[in-house]
Assembly symmetry: C2
Homo-oligomer: 268 residues x 2
């Protein structure tokens, strides 16, 4: 599943041509049952990651408004032991954050070794927003792209696995979900007047994402395009990619040294 | 003064051949008086940096044990308004720090825009200690060198000036200062039994520093080799380099917008 969804840095990426309603031929009920099973496996692997203590996992969730970032974190990170998880959402920088470089608050919020972190939006917003919404020149956001790939490379070198998910939603599905935010009294709190303006930017955002994903999908920190029009497909895919990634790590339950074992047995 | 002391990345650096007792032909009393004058100018520039609000200054102090890092910070950062200064010492990483990549605690401690930060030891220890003291293979510390230059480049791009000082002390002066730590009851608290082992590593440290300074002295974040056998020379040099660096920044007292000015005057 991982390789199927990864963005190839060498090839131009046309997101509009990628079906956001892809279902991989799956039956919904079967897929949902598989997600439950794999989520159990994910929880086990989370414990192994903690026991191993040498690696961390950072899962970055990006996508247009209403693409399901909150839902993906709830469904796919939720099954993990919360003691081993650190989630962080990033809104427009404010206060002390504005006094610092854009990676400062990102770095501070990273999961430590043995932990899993989930970012709802991330340092990628610091390229996208200046480019698409603020109309800032490339001299503002272009150097940030190189800074991001160097930063992620450093994290990976030091033991953090960086997994990046782009939740790909179609214009029609996005419109439907934003409409629901207004009409459903239990979703209304999520609506923001700024959403209206962002809807008009669908094409601009998709083009900026396509360029950014391709240029920041690296061998050490690849992007995955997740078809996100169907929530059950999204959950199945994200859970599976996380399981595959952790299984590939060759995690070990750390051994106690012979001295510690001997001392422990002497106390029995 | 800045250019005189900067390490040229293109040329091998032989620290042993650089006189640690260099005095630039200065008279001590005159130099001390000049340091006092320039420290006043530095304090003014610190206020301008805060008023300007667009840039930060990070001064990194590295050097062998007893090279005078504490003293340099006390004398050369001390004259600044403490509200605008953030100092941080870095000892061996412990606790939560060990769960993170080596740049995590560094990033968190950086000065924000409008502020001056001083680091007593830094991320450079994460290359030096594994290499010289722990005998770790190059695969551990070599990738950190590239990570450091990329990290510093990012900081500079985002508005932080990165000034790096290597306080160069001779073997004889180091031995004398470490002896004083034992014999002077007011200095004894600074003595650590590990100092004895480190003294034996003088040559190894100097060679590792020479390699590291040359490779991490970049156009955006150059290293300065400060002759540090004489404290008054060290203070004169560091103060001067900081003044020259801030003067080159073209700091501006930020303007109030015409609307704000009009509103303020209307209230008078």
């Amino acid at each position: 599943m991982r390789e199927l969804l990864q963005v190839d840095p060498g090839t131009p990426l046309d997101l509009a041509a990628r079906p956001a309603d892809e279902r991989f031929g799956w039956d919904r009920e079967e897929a949902e049952a598989a997600t439950v099973r794999r989520a159990e496996r994910l929880a086990e692997l989370g414990t192994e990651l903690a026991a191993d203590g040498r690696r961390a996992l950072l899962a970055v969730f990006q996508g247009l408004d209403a693409s399901g970032k909150d839902g993906a974190i709830k469904r796919c990170i939720g099954p993990l032991n919360p003691m081993m998880v650190r989630t962080q959402g990033f809104t427009a920088p404010a206060g002390e954050e504005l006094r610092h470089d854009f990676l400062w608050r990102i770095h501070a919020a990273l999961p430590g070794r043995g932990r899993i972190g989930a970012f709802n939006r991330s340092h990628y917003e610091d390229v996208l927003v200046p480019r698409v919404e603020l109309g800032r020149p490339a001299s503002v956001w272009e150097p940030r792209i190189a800074a991001i790939t160097a930063f992620e490379r450093h994290l990976v070198q030091e033991g953090t696995v960086v997994l990046k998910f782009f939740l790909h939603v179609s214009r029609e599905e996005q419109a439907e979900r934003l409409r629901a935010r207004i009409e459903d009294p239990h979703k209304r709190w999520k609506f923001d007047a700024a959403d209206l303006a962002k809807r008009a930017l669908y094409d601009d955002y998709l083009a900026a994402y396509a360029d950014l994903l391709r240029r920041t999908s690296t061998p050490w920190a690849p992007w995955h395009v997740v078809p996100a029009d169907r929530k059950w497909v999204r959950n199945r895919v994200v859970t599976e990619v996380m399981v595959e990634t952790l299984e590939a790590l060759d995690l070990r339950w750390s051994d106690l040294s012979p001295e510690v074992l001997k001392a422990a047995r002497a106390q029995e």
